[in-house]
């Protein structure tokens, strides 16, 4: 019995991908759970495992775009040849006994001739398959007995088989198990090869054409879509980072010893955002048609820059996490991002995003929303600046923060208030400890 290898459902809004690599070859013997191929989608790379063991027959090539539900390969039982022969001999064997009974016989009147035909096809197997039907049955590894025949005497017509195939592809494809995490056996994806298109000599010196990667294309699409959908405004504030920096300096090594991960700024901002989102829940909501949907939890997206581009893995249920939890999770996700191993689940479900442009030196910026979220916090470079504290000019490590928000949903007052709440908690981190 052969098994079709289909592209499983890949996650929200992902309907297609590109086969980047076959991990097994044509004709290879594979076992259940062996990884068969790598698929690149807009959000991540996915590996497809074999559901059963057998001989692999590849139907779609590397580089081809495939859709959810597409059959990309077949795994055939080792005795396929024998099985095909069995289908043929069964068909041939029934053709002969069926024929004389079905033909109008010059015999005394019997019951209705069609009843005779049906009896003949009932007691023996189905009548012979026509050439087109044989081809389709073989190519798609179908069981003819399971298809309703509308032809003479219950025969299968080509149309019957085509209709049957139509019906089975439109029904939901069986979801394959998620790719197992942390496949150390699988090597990291190589650098995207950039092949310049051949250009005329005169132009070659001035220009270089580089095809956009799928990810880049998708990012481009989504950004424009975000701008067209939401009314994006940005409000700014600045945060005195002194208190956090003092805390870090004091407890950094103890934290690292205790939790095996270093204490960064992200956990502070993560906790601060969670608290501020509780204060101003509309910032953690989104528009669905004419409804406002409020998320119960905070699934915090953290923007990570990779070689391929910006990806935003999600720290799920950040509202339930401690500092260490947040740091660990961010660390795990960042590592996977760098290795191009983020799963679809890693990348979906975010309700609010933090983006840190400061690591590259950005002082101030207007982040763009990460749809379907309604707001995004931009962190920037911490720079020592003269500020006024208690009427005196002092030097403080200052960070500008920006909140871009969807004004359709979030009013200016809410956006400003949210940002102020974040600022208050970063400048006075004890409030995070006390949940106030």
């Amino acid at each position: 019995m052969a098994v079709e290898v289909r592209i499983p459902t890949l996650g929200e809004s992902v309907s297609e991908g590109v086969i980047t690599r076959w991990l097994k070859g044509e004709g290879d013997s594979v076992s259940a759970d062996d990884l068969l191929l790598e698929l690149e989608t807009d959000k991540a790379n996915v590996e497809i495992p074999a559901e059963r063991g057998g001989v692999l027959h590849i139907l779609r090539k590397e580089g081809e775009t495939v859709h959810v539900g597409d059959v990309v390969a077949r795994i055939e039982a080792a005795d396929r040849q024998q099985q095909a022969a069995r289908v043929q001999t069964a068909a041939a064997a029934t053709a002969t006994p069926a024929a004389p009974q079905a033909a109008p016989a010059p015999a005394p009147p019997t019951q209705a001739a069609s009843a005779v035909e049906e009896a003949a096809s009932g007691e023996s197997e189905a009548p012979a398959l026509s050439p087109a039907v044989r081809r389709l049955v073989e190519e798609h590894e179908l069981n003819p007995a399971a298809i309703k025949g509308s032809g003479r005497g219950g025969r299968l017509t080509k149309g019957d088989v085509l209709a049957h195939l139509d019906a089975s592809t439109t029904s939901a494809a069986k979801p394959a198990p998620l790719p197992p995490p942390d496949q150390s056996a699988v090597p990291a994806r190589p650098q995207l090869a950039i092949a310049p298109r051949p250009v005329s000599a005169a132009v070659a010196a001035d220009e270089e054409h580089v095809p956009m990667s799928r990810l880049r294309q998708r990012i481009a699409e989504r950004l424009v879509q975000a701008q067209h959908t939401a009314a994006i405004l940005t409000t700014f504030n600045e945060i005195d980072m002194q208190a956090v920096m003092d805390l870090r300096a004091k407890h950094k090594s103890r934290f690292a010893d205790a939790h095996g991960v270093s204490l960064g700024f992200m956990s502070f901002f993560g906790r601060a955002c969670v608290a501020a989102l509780r204060d101003v829940p509309v910032v953690n909501a989104y528009i669905d048609g004419t409804d406002i949907v409020y998320h119960r939890h905070v699934h915090l997206g953290v923007a990570v820059s990779t070689e391929r581009g910006l990806v935003v893995p999600v720290v799920h249920r950040a509202d339930e996490m401690s500092f260490a939890d947040i740091e660990k999770e961010i660390g795990r996700l960042a590592e996977r991002a760098r290795q191009n191993k983020l799963s679809i689940d890693d990348l979906s479900g975010g309700t609010f995003t933090i983006s840190n442009g400061g690591v590259f030196g950005s002082l101030l910026s207007t982040p763009i929303l990460n749809p379907p979220q309604s707001a995004i916090l931009g962190m920037h470079k911490i720079e020592k600046r003269p500020v006024v504290v208690d009427d005196a000019i002092v030097v403080r490590p200052m960070m500008y923060v920006a909140l871009s928000y969807d004004h359709r949903l979030i009013d200016g007052e809410h956006a400003v208030t949210f940002l102020v709440r974040v600022k208050e908690r970063i400048e006075d981190p004890v409030r995070l400890m006390l949940d106030v």
Binding site: P106, P109, A115, A132, R135, G151, T157, L162
Partner: protein
């Protein structure tokens, strides 16, 4: 006379009637078949299909000897025809077959009754044979009285100068000028016969095309071919009146308002046939006819009078011998409690000109007017090895398939032996075959049916030899 009622009395021993009678005999019914003509076989055997095919073959041979042998490197002197000999042969062919039917009746214990029949009631028939009259009783009656040529009011048949197909099959000499009124199968076939035998033939047709009902493009191709053979055509023309003058016939033609005249030696009126119920007494006992004079029947071929059935040319549908035969068998099987059935979508129709034009199923025009999405595959005989070897490459094959299911909806063939090779596709259509099925069935090489296989491949742009 034995007065035990029959199980079935069949009126008419044409292809519908005699085949039904034989089947009834096979099924063990006590059956009688009434025929008013001296010979069995009806129109088909006596003055239709068989004699016309005999003359078509004979005249084709003559044409081939005169025009086709040279290409094969064969030299013959001047060929002549011996019309009486040709007609005798035709008569012998007819006689042999009609006698054959008589033999089949004996074999199957069908009682042959000579005379004309008149229905008295649903279960009794009066037979008149000369001055002898008798009344027969039967549980069931099957009317297979056939059809007769339609006469045009302005051109009444005289059997000599203004003739129907019946007389056109036995003309005493080759007419110098033959006017054929009607561009359907019969007019074209008989026109072809006399054209090949030396007549100057002109065909006038009421519609803007010949062979209505067949594939339009192939009809046009056939017309061009017949024109090349020397026949002339005038479409959108009706024949209004005919007057005899000086041993010839002057016919007034009306073409789109313009009146012209045509002088000829013989006029063949072949504008169709009407269902024949004259003197049957059918209407009198309550059998309903439609407005064309056909007997109305249901799916079991039962008329509006219980116990009385009808098949063949006398009921609606194409007036074809094989359709009558199938109906005859189906009606009798249904009477015997079996499941008789005629698949009207798989009835081939043929025009036996040369090239032959054969068709089964839908035309392109019909499919498109029903808004069925179709794929069409064509293949010319010019690209077929056998046709080239035969030196007969006119025409081709066209297959029409459902675009979604690939099911073959219609096949049209113009060319050598079209009437024979269409049989394959009629069987295919019966089995609901797809174009791919035909394409994947092995066809011997080199044969004409390979053109059918290639046309099937062409449905999916996969023809090899073109």
């Amino acid at each position: 006379m034995d007065t035990t009622p029959y199980d079935l009395i069949i009126i008419g021993a044409g292809p519908g009637g005699y085949v039904a009678a034989i089947r009834a005999g096979q099924l063990g019914m006590r059956v009688a078949c009434v025929e008013k003509d001296k010979a069995l076989g009806g129109t088909c055997l006596n003055v239709g299909c068989i004699p016309s095919k005999a003359l078509l073959d004979s005249s084709e041979h003559f044409h081939f000897v005169r025009h086709g042998l040279a290409a094969h490197g064969i030299k013959v002197g001047v060929a002549e025809i011996d019309l009486p000999a040709m007609m005798s042969r035709k008569d012998r062919v007819v006689k042999g077959l009609t006698q054959g039917v008589a033999g089949l009746f004996k074999k199957n214990k069908v009682e042959r009754i000579s005379g004309s029949a008149r229905l008295l009631a649903a279960d009794s028939v009066e037979i008149t044979n000369g001055d002898q009259r008798s009344i027969l009783k039967s549980a069931k009656i099957l009317i297979a009285s056939g059809s007769a040529p339609i006469e045009l009011p302005g051109l009444p048949f005289d059997g000599v100068r203004i003739v129907s197909s019946t007389e056109a099959l036995s003309l005493p000499q080759v007419p110098e000028r033959l006017l054929v009124v009607g561009g359907g199968a019969i007019g074209l076939e008989l026109g072809s016969v006399w054209n090949r035998l030396g007549s100057a033939v002109k065909v006038v047709e009421f519609l803007d095309r010949i062979v209505p009902g067949m594939d339009k493009q192939m009809g046009e191709q056939l017309m061009k071919s017949l024109q090349k053979q020397g026949m002339s055509f005038q479409l959108q023309t009706t024949a209004r009146t005919a007057v005899m003058e000086n041993g010839a016939v002057r016919v007034t033609l009306d073409s789109k308002g313009k009146t012209t005249e045509e002088v000829c030696d013989v006029v063949l009126v072949a504008v169709g046939r009407r269902p024949f119920t004259d003197g049957l007494g059918a209407r009198e006992i309550g059998v309903e006819l439609d407005d064309r004079g056909c007997i109305k029947v249901d799916a079991h071929y039962a008329t509006t009078v219980a116990g009385v059935y009808a098949i063949g040319d006398v009921i609606p549908g194409p007036m074809l011998a094989h359709k009558a035969e199938e109906e005859g068998i189906a009606a009798v099987e249904l009477m015997a409690g079996q499941a008789g059935h005629v698949n009207y979508d798989a009835v081939p129709s043929v025009v036996y000109t040369w090239p032959e034009l054969a068709s089964v199923g839908m035309t392109e025009e019909q499919a498109r007017s029903q808004e069925i999405p179709i794929n069409v595959g064509s293949f010319p005989f010019l690209a077929n090895g056998r046709a080239r070897a035969m030196n007969d490459t006119e025409g081709g094959v066209k297959i029409i398939a459902d675009a979604k299911t690939d099911r073959v909806l219609g096949v049209h063939i113009l060319g050598p032996r079209a009437s024979d090779i269409i049989a394959e596709v009629a069987v295919a259509i019966e089995f609901g075959a797809s174009a791919e099925d035909i394409a994947r069935s092995v066809h011997a090489h080199p044969t004409l049916p390979e053109a059918i296989k290639e046309a099937a491949l062409a449905v999916h742009q996969r023809a090899i030899h073109i």
